[in-house]
Amino acid sequence: MQENLFSYVNASPSSAAAGLLAGKSFLLQPNLSVGGWPCEAGSTALEKYVALEDATIVEKIKNAGATLAGSARMAELGLGLSGDSSARIFSEGKCNVALISDTMGEARVTASLARAFGFKPSWGIISRFGLIGLAPSMECSGIMARTIGDLSATLQVLVGSDRRDPSMLQERLPDGAKVDEPDRVATLGVIRECIDTLPAAESSALRSVFPAMEKSGTAICEVSLPDFKQFRTVHNIVGSVEASSSAGKYDGVRYGHRAENAENWNEMYLRSRAESFGLIMKSYLFQGAYFQFRDYTAFEDACRIRRRLVDTTKAFYKDVDFLLFPTRSAAQNQRSPASIDEMYDAFALTLPANVTGQPSLTVPGLLQCDGVDLGLQLVGAYLDDARLLAFAGRLVDTISDLHQ
């Protein structure tokens, strides 16, 4: 049973190093390279692939004293959560912290399912070297933990530029999670057009949280973003194009799956890749190919809308400290979508932060609807990661004080 939840169990999970993460047990996913571990990233495309060296962030947590428990099972190349076992392993208490790649909200939705904290940092402050990615401009490693303390400590260890990841932010990286901010009234914004998309029960559940928050010294205000639905359009177009490009390297030549007995190169590519990808991934790659080869203008248009969404969202932060969303809707199927569309329905509330690269945290226990914890999602301004975590810590403390 245990073996079925894990794709790889570390037989010798020891760590000699003392450090910020000493004694913490980490769960990884098989799309994060650990030298000598199988890293198939949930895809036949990487059949039997064994990583040659550690990802930068794996090296970092090892050096900070973490022990590695093993890798969970995961959805193909980290798109969605089909077949992902991180939430289950985490709920069973087999580890303290999990690193989960977040392409459209996977880390945060997993955390909300496991009733834990889930955090996607600002894009570009954590190295992606050694992460087997799919949508490079939107994905990054997310962190799931039981306490804000573990989350902050992990973030502090992970943040930092890496010469081997030239896509990272080159200047002024935020200094991990050290923030001592004097208490002051924070303002949270909710996007009207987002609330409008929720089932009635869930939107009233969200509104019912406001009084307790206001009592704890937080102001709530409503903002309007008429383009809210376009986050999803942009993510789908950009994500599928980037996926089609990224997956281009899985040709069965240097590693991964190769179809048997092909007569020539083209046949080898066609058949190997036919056998390499599952139907959801294939649909996504074909959508990407459609934009790349049939309608490239659509990709450029999506990137134009992306700029507008980034700019509009940024402007909100003149008046609010953080934006507030549910992490997921119970009406949607996050675990086994049957189509790309269903998957986008399921992650519609988390993917905006992937489009804009902003830090986003799901907080457990604060937003319930009919006994289901939907996860309260806070989205901070770009690079405001530390303040976001500090605020969430205070919010959890004061609200639980109020309840007592």
Binding site: T233, N264, A274, F286, Q287, A289, D295, A298, E300, C303
Partner: protein, 703 residues
């Protein structure tokens, strides 16, 4: 700026010391010595070192500090002799340098996509080469690639070779006459490049695969001796060292025979090779097609080394060795080669496990028989099956001596025996380094006129080639296959440099050939009508030849690829990374050419919006799909089309945002080439689905 007094960089020398000179050119390399700046200035003639010193001209020196590689500059200065010990023997001008007094930056250059400089500034240090630069990048910036002196030198030589061809043929009374590029499809066997006609909608010109019919028409016109250095076009499948357009030296003459062509071409080829510094001995040896096939297994034999085939079929006519016995029962053949004195290098293990089991089956033969000669006797895994008589006959026939290795291939098909043994011959020669670095030209003659085909026969060469006799019955296939043609190929080192033939000038004979080929009267009329008509007006006896210019030049200069002797070549996929040709065209352009709905029922790809979108995307992204996946993927594609519409509706004129971080240039530390340690220790291959030695193994390259 006045350039009239400029001195070519590469021609300056000791005799110019003390002179004030102007040089212009590109900054090949720079070396900053703190105070003093050294610059290599390069023009077509070569490189000279210029020194900028604050003691000589402080302002100029200040100005020079902004120089970067490949800036185009003009410098005025005085030539001085270099100090003892600072000479650069790697440069023709290494004895001197120019103390700059004046600098003009004619134009600046963006940072280069790859290094261009080939000359080190300090003796003993390496200059950057382009060895590791991907060829497509070189072709994309071909104008920069061509700045490299080694490449420029290829084109200077190519020019000299072309000029020697023109001079020589002019001496011999040949006229260069141009033939059309927009013409009618000609019968050369390869696919034509078609050019749609706007004036005649739905009709096409073809680009010539060779000016074959036109040069024959020029003979009928009475020009007697024609030549042309001409571009030809063939839409062939991808092969290494092929270009969709190529240059050929095209020659045709009247009232001549084969000997005229041999003498003319030998002298021509000798003169061409002389420009590359090689002297070819004349006359060139000749070999019939049959002899070439019998002794080397190839109609373009590489004769720089021995390993000629030895016939062994008769030795085994009564053999008890089952494999040979069965092959001979089916009228098979046995041939072999003697690899002299190689029993040390070709061990039992190599012969049995590498050659017999892997390499030779890859050449199409079922197996290979090997024997080593030790102490005057044959030794191998099967020698016990041969009678004493047979063993003696083998030793004698192969002139075998101690240390020799005999290799034989037996097969029911003569073609399999010769072709596999031919490839084995080349493989062994390469492996044992038996091929001397020299040129070995040979004429191959007496080709068969026809090849057998399913319906009868096809022309080996083209249907205008004269047969060796005219009294044949065009309906008797067996007799047709016994005919020889009056064709000849010139072959050097196993590569065909060119070929030609004496042509048919008699209409009746021409019709007889067409009849043999099974062409109907209307087919003949449609394909060659104009030419047959011309033959009826007193055509002179004539013949000619064509040489592949790119290939000859490449061979003379010893370049790795013919792309190194073509200024703007296509890459291996017949694509031009510089201009991005071929490229799609606007629907409007197709409409104007009447190509949107050609011939009513033949709909061109892309003419209908839907077309076979799924198939197309499956092909371009190289992802196969199965029947049961189609509906899901089609639904995803419909959704994608919808998303595209939405995006189009919502997008305004913002600049597209591709990354939430401002894109910036990042340069890694150092400028040494870096190799992955996993490449060095071989672990890089650890994850390969199949590998062989130090390489990734894949399917066949050729389709």
């Amino acid at each position: 700026m006045n350039f009239q007094k400029r001195s070519p960089c590469g021609r300056l020398g000791i005799s110019d010391v003390g002179q004030e000179v102007q040089v212009v050119g590109w900054v090949d390399a720079l070396r900053d010595h703190g105070v003093v700046l050294f610059v290599h200035v390069r023009d077509r003639s070569g490189i000279v070192q210029v020194v900028f010193s604050p003691e000589i001209a402080p302002e100029t020196c200040e100005q020079a500090s902004s120089l970067k590689t490949e800036y185009c500059i003009a410098v005025i200065g005085r030539v001085i002799e270099r100090e003892k010990g600072t000479e650069n023997p790697g440069l023709d001008t290494g004895q001197i340098e120019i103390m700059a007094s004046d600098l003009t930056i004619l134009s600046s250059s963006k940072p280069l996509p790859f290094p261009i400089s080939e000359k080190a500034m300090v003796t003993g240090t390496g200059a950057a080469g382009t060895g590791a630069v991907a060829e497509d990048i070189r072709l994309q910036y071909r104008y920069l690639d061509l700045r490299r002196p080694s490449l420029q030198d290829n084109f200077m030589k190519r020019h000299r070779i072309a000029k020697s061809v023109r001079d020589f043929l002019d001496e011999r009374g040949f006229l260069e006459v141009e033939t059309p590029v927009l013409t009618k499809s000609t019968p050369e066997g390869a696919r034509d490049y078609l050019v749609p006609s706007r004036v005649h909608p739905g009709e096409f010109y073809a680009l010539p695969q060779s000016p074959q019919l036109f040069k024959q028409l020029l003979m009928i016109s009475g020009f007697e001796r024609y030549f042309q250095i001409v571009k030809c076009y063939r839409d062939e499948d991808l092969r290494p060292n092929r270009q969709p357009e190529f240059t050929q030296i095209d020659i045709e003459a009247s009232f001549i025979d084969e000997e005229f062509i041999y003498e003319l071409i030998e002298e021509l080829v000798v003169r061409m090779f002389r420009i590359g510094g090689s002297e070819l001995p004349r006359p060139f040896p000749r070999m019939t097609y049959q002899e070439a096939m019998d002794t080397t297994g190839s109609d373009r034999p590489d004769l720089r080394f021995g390993l000629r085939f030895i016939e062994a079929t008769d030795i085994f006519k009564n053999t008890q060795y089952t494999i040979f016995k069965q092959i001979l029962k089916r009228n098979g053949h046995i041939k072999g080669i003697n690899v002299k004195g190689s029993s040390d290098t070709l061990s039992k293990n190599v012969l049995q496990n590498e050659y017999a089991k892997q390499i030779v089956p890859g050449f199409g033969a079922k197996g290979m028989t090997w024997m080593r000669v030790i102490d005057g006797k044959l030794e191998s895994n099967i020698v016990q099956f041969f009678s004493e008589e047979e063993q003696q006959a083998i030793l004698q026939r192969f002139a075998a001596e101690n240390g020799d290795v005999l290799l034989m291939i037996a097969d029911p098909s003569y073609q399999v025996v010769t072709s596999a043994l031919g490839m084995l011959r080349l493989h062994i020669a390469n492996r044992l380094d038996l091929i001397p670095n020299t040129y070995y030209p040979v004429w191959v003659t007496d080709f068969p006129l026809f090849d057998p085909s399913e319906e009868g026969v096809t022309s080996c060469h083209h249907p205008f080639t004269s047969p060796d006799r005219t009294d044949f019955d065009p309906t008797n296939v067996e007799e047709l296959l016994s005919l020889r043609s009056r064709a000849y190929d010139i072959v050097v080192n196993g590569e065909e440099l060119g070929g030609g033939s004496i042509r048919i000038h008699d209409t009746n004979l021409q019709h007889k050939i067409f009849k043999a080929l099974g062409l109907t009267q209307s087919e003949i009329e449609e394909k060659f009508g104009f030419f047959l008509t011309a033959l009826e007006y007193g055509a002179p006896p004539h013949g000619g030849i064509a040489l592949g210019m790119d290939r000859v030049v490449s061979m003379i200069l010893g370049t790795a690829s013919i792309r190194d002797v073509i200024a703007f070549p296509k890459n291996r996929s017949a694509f031009c990374p510089l201009t991005k040709a071929p490229s799609p065209v606007a629907r409007a352009q197709l409409a104007e050419l009447g190509l949107l709905n050609l011939g009513g029922e033949q709909v061109l790809p892309g003419a209908e919006q839907e077309g076979d979108l799924l198939e197309h995307l499956s092909w371009v992204s190289r992802i196969g799909i199965s029947e049961n996946e189609r509906s899901t993927i089609n639904a995803a594609l419909q959704r994608a089309a919808h998303l595209a519409e939405v995006a189009n509706d919502y997008a305004r004129d913002e600049e597209p945002l591709y990354s939430v971080i401002e894109v910036s240039h990042i340069v890694r530390d150092g400028n040494e080439a870096r190799n992955s340690r996993f490449a060095a220790n071989g672990e890089l291959l650890k994850n390969a689905p199949a590998q062989k030695g130090d390489y990734f193994k894949t399917a066949n390259i050729l389709e």
